[in-house]
Symmetry: C2
């Protein structure tokens, strides 16, 4: 066989930024972005991104420099997903729900050259800059504000703000050619922090190749056809909008940007722009439930909703679907660039009862096409577990869409890639039909008398109780069994107990424990139920189980007697104060 | 930014053979192949492929060795698309419609170590081997027959036939691991000849990376969801079934294999197995029209038909869609690994009249997602043509799914990749909406008085005439204008003229020229119409225009007078004899 050398015609590095160029050529008349009264076409978005990239180059942004951004889902945030890597730099979208200290920790670690901040976050920005100044931090970052632009007026090219940069960017054609022909597909495109609160920040470095493959897999996993109209309810700072920022360009779709994720905003935009697709974590379902039913007589199909972040409770899925949404569940993590498993619907499931269908929808599903391996391994032997739907092990992933590693954190990188795959830390099973189902985060598993209890399984039972709005189950120390389940529950609005109606509260705890006993093996039932007005959550809407475990630790059950409900109630309120003052 | 070295977890070479492993794990209960009474599941297909690959290794097949195959769309043909590259070898599927001499030319050029031949081609095999023996060819190829297997009986492991190899293959687990973890994604996976008849065979070398990307693009371009049931009407030897051999595994689909592409076989299999997808060249539409309407009351949707090879005549598409098929048009070529453009349907088109819709369906469309560039260039200046739907240029392609080059043919490789892209040799325009439309093969363009005439455009007008079944237009020499169009036409069955009804024949020629004058600028109208009972075609169903040009040359039009129809008729019959004796 000949040695046929690769050449310019047949060896083009893979990067999702080419989707923008293709969209401007293949979909010249289509709307790329809608934001309030603002509308762009794909050629306009292409032009704006080329200009911004040229301006970044003129600000001496060099290859692999970090450009951080703190912004909600506004057009600038979308554009930067292309423009920043087009300038050879690495985008670092920061969670806008973090406090100043957490953001400062990330900035000190990432050492960006530029930080773009939405003007509405100016108070936060001042606080961050104050912290950074105090830290004697050696961080030399240029802060550029993104103004709420009136796109109809041309900006002065002298202003050093976002629109000014777009206005004054004048790329040459050879610059543009270089923007879309990257040198190495393994180069980083994005830096996504999984957590900024601890002294050990983990910034997952995502490659062009990984982002490209993952965004194609998202299209295929979700079966997103051409010309989707995607409402951005999911923050783009979250894994680059699960890589769908790039996928929408690939499909010539329309990005409906909104600043605030509220029920009126969501429903108004769905109707105004005939939204077809949206993504959100399951907690947003509660926001959707505050809206009304979609008028399916004026739509060709329900709104496709992709959910990820945690398994959607079946009862919640059922309610949301009845409003006119069709839910698909995926499983992803920052380290996997975006979605890694999709719960692919199987036709046979259509014959099952609705409750059973909703339960199956909660499974994490099968590995995306661009992963080489998605498996569940026994953590001791590193062998695959039997595909029996029962034997638990750790979910592991392998493939070109896995992150390059954690920035400046070789120890965490080594741990993540131990054994030659990505160790997700999630504990699951594989069903005989090939679907993976998470039973728990490895650290959330409750071990009682040597038995593994999946907190998720207990939560799912609680969610079925008609009065339960939200539930989280964690381990609570137990002198005999080591650990025992403790449930934290938020009741449906009408059922929230006032301080002067404590008697009803007592009944409810017993009710729920009794309910669990009817639906679960005895050893899996919570011995304690604590009622809260809301669960503590991080910026991504994930329940902060470590916080709940801290509370649960206070209630060591010395024997089978339940601690007096009065004490519980007091403890709860004391705790509530401190865990809602700090976010994440 | 850290230098994060690639590792086993995040750097897996891209190859479509991983789709087989994934299918066996993610879709364990699904049917992979149906062939008559035979059915396999994905784990069975996985097992058979591993066994075949192990047997190939035991026959001393080494890295990059060629394994040729001459077989129709039987299970073995499908399995070899995985098993041969799993053994590190390169699959060379040969067009079964070629004659012995052409096959011998290919074999001498490709130098395969093994040639698999379906037992039904034994006479052809003998002829080929006879030719090769005479040639003193130094070809040392092992011929292995594929028997029409009774899969219910176990084959003796001593037989050196296809099923024997599968039976005796006993791969070790480390062998299997190596089979799916290829070393270099740029290594060849397939060798696909574009032509075997001349002294200059062109064997396009396809890489694992290219096949992987192209098969994903085919899924997205065609919007093929999970679990398709694909009827194999398209020969798998044709660009590996347009890369859909691999795509079906990626989607956990079912391959319905058939040996003979006839109307009864097609319709029987569609009904028996609820076929959802099929591919074919437009000439197969004529076969479909011999069948009956599909019973759409028992189906959830029409059969999705992907067509390629030549632009489907609007009238033919209309007829076929009325039977219960839904046609999508793609444009591909062997050098692009498979489909390169898809005619993505635009919602606005739904508001157009049916005829207009059918015409738009004939466009080649927009570049697939995994191409970095699909453009139309002025062949002199190498500049992109304006997107006006009028200015013609050559279609060029660039990206990682383009072939590595032609085997042992540096001159043709150089020509193909001149200017840093793949020169397709097809002449087209770009419409303002971004869609590319082919006007002609560069060598099929008719240049009359300095004007370019697209033969396809004239053909499309002829196709609209209700009596025309098939039409092909080529250049015919003209002393004044240089060239002028000459049409070859096959009439609908009832309209075929017998020798004794010559008068009607004369009328028909004048009719058609008159019809063209009503629908085309005068200079584009054929000056001559020649009626045939069928058009000469090559093994892929493409009309052999060089043959038609040879005939047209006989009719040099010295002036505006039409040559007498009597003479034409005689000429036609003389010519018919020789161009139907040799195929391709």
């Amino acid at each position: 066989m000949d040695n046929l050398p690769l050449c310019e015609a047949n060896n083009v590095p893979l990067t999702p930024i080419t989707f923008l160029k293709r969209a401007s050529e293949c979909y010249p008349n289509r709307t790329s972005i809608i934001y309030g009264q603002t509308r762009f076409t794909w050629p306009q978005t292409y032009d704006r991104c080329c200009r911004l990239a040229a301006s970044l180059l003129s600000l001496n942004i060099a290859m692999n420099d970090i450009v951080s951004v703190l912004a909600p889902n506004i057009p600038a945030m979308y554009e930067m997903h292309f423009a920043v890597p087009m300038a050879g730099a690495v985008l670092n979208p920061i969670n806008t729900r973090l406090n100043a200290k957490s953001v400062a920790t990330i900035l000190l670690h990432a050492q960006p050259k530029i930080l773009f901040i939405d003007r509405n976050f100016e108070p936060l920005a001042r606080e961050i800059l104050h912290l950074l100044a105090n830290e004697d931090s050696q961080l030399n970052v240029q802060v550029i504000f993104i103004e709420e632009a009136d796109f109809s007026k041309r900006f002065s090219t002298n202003e050093l703000d976002y629109e000014g940069l777009i206005c004054r960017g004048e790329p040459t054609s050879s610059q543009v050619a270089r923007m879309f022909r990257i040198q190495n597909e393994h180069d980083p495109i994005s830096l996504n922090y999984t957590s900024g609160t601890t002294g050990n920040p983990k910034g997952a470095v995502i490659s062009h190749r990984g982002a490209y493959l993952c965004s194609l897999s998202a299209i295929m996993g979700w079966e997103m056809g051409t010309f989707p109209v995607k409402l951005w309810t999911l923050p783009m700072f979250h894994c680059n909008g699960w890589t769908l920022t790039w996928s929408v360009a690939a499909r010539g779709g329309t990005n409906v940007c909104i600043r605030h994720v509220t029920a009126p905003e969501i429903f108004k935009n769905i109707e105004l722009h005939s939204v077809t697709h949206m993504c959100c974590v399951p907690t947003v379902f509660n926001i959707l439930l505050q809206g009304k039913e979609l008028d399916l007589s004026t739509r060709s199909a329900p709104v496709e909703v992709l959910t990820d972040g945690s398994s959607p409770p079946p009862s919640l899925v059922k309610k949301v679907q009845r409003l006119g949404f069709h839910v698909m569940h995926a499983y992803g993590l920052t380290e996997a660039t975006g979605p890694a498993l999709f719960c692919e619907w199987q036709d046979e499931w259509n014959r099952l009862r609705e409750n059973q269908q909703m339960k199956l929808k909660g499974r994490q599903g099968v590995g995306i096409l661009t992963l080489a391996e998605a498996d569940v391994k026994n953590t001791n032997t590193q062998e695959s577990v039997p595909r029996d739907g029962k034997t638990m092990g750790e979910i592991i992933l392998k493939g070109s869409s896995i992150m390059k590693g954690y920035l400046k954190n070789p120890k965490a990188t080594f741990e993540a890639f131990k054994h030659g795959w990505l160790n997700t830390g999630d504990i699951g099973v594989i069903h005989p039909d090939g679907h993976i189902e998470i039973k728990d985060r490895s650290k959330d598993i409750i071990i009682s008398g040597g038995e593994n209890i999946s907190s998720v399984e207990v939560e799912n039972v609680l969610y079925k109780h008609q009065k339960v709005l939200e539930a989280a189950v964690v381990a609570m120390p137990h002198p005999v069994w080591g650990e025992t389940p403790c449930a934290f529950v938020v009741l449906e609005k009408g059922d929230i107990i006032q301080g002067d109606r404590e008697d009803k509260f007592v009944t409810s705890e017993r009710d729920l424990i009794e309910y669990c006993r009817e639906n679960l093996p005895r050893f899996m039932c919570p011995r304690k139920v604590i009622f809260l007005e809301e669960l503590p959550k991080n910026g991504n809407g994930k329940t902060l189980k470590p916080k709940l475990r801290d509370i649960a630790k206070v209630f060591v059950l010395h024997d089978e007697n339940i601690v007096s409900s009065k004490k519980v109630q007091r403890k709860k309120e004391t705790n509530r104060v401190d865990f809602f003052t700090s976010r994440l």
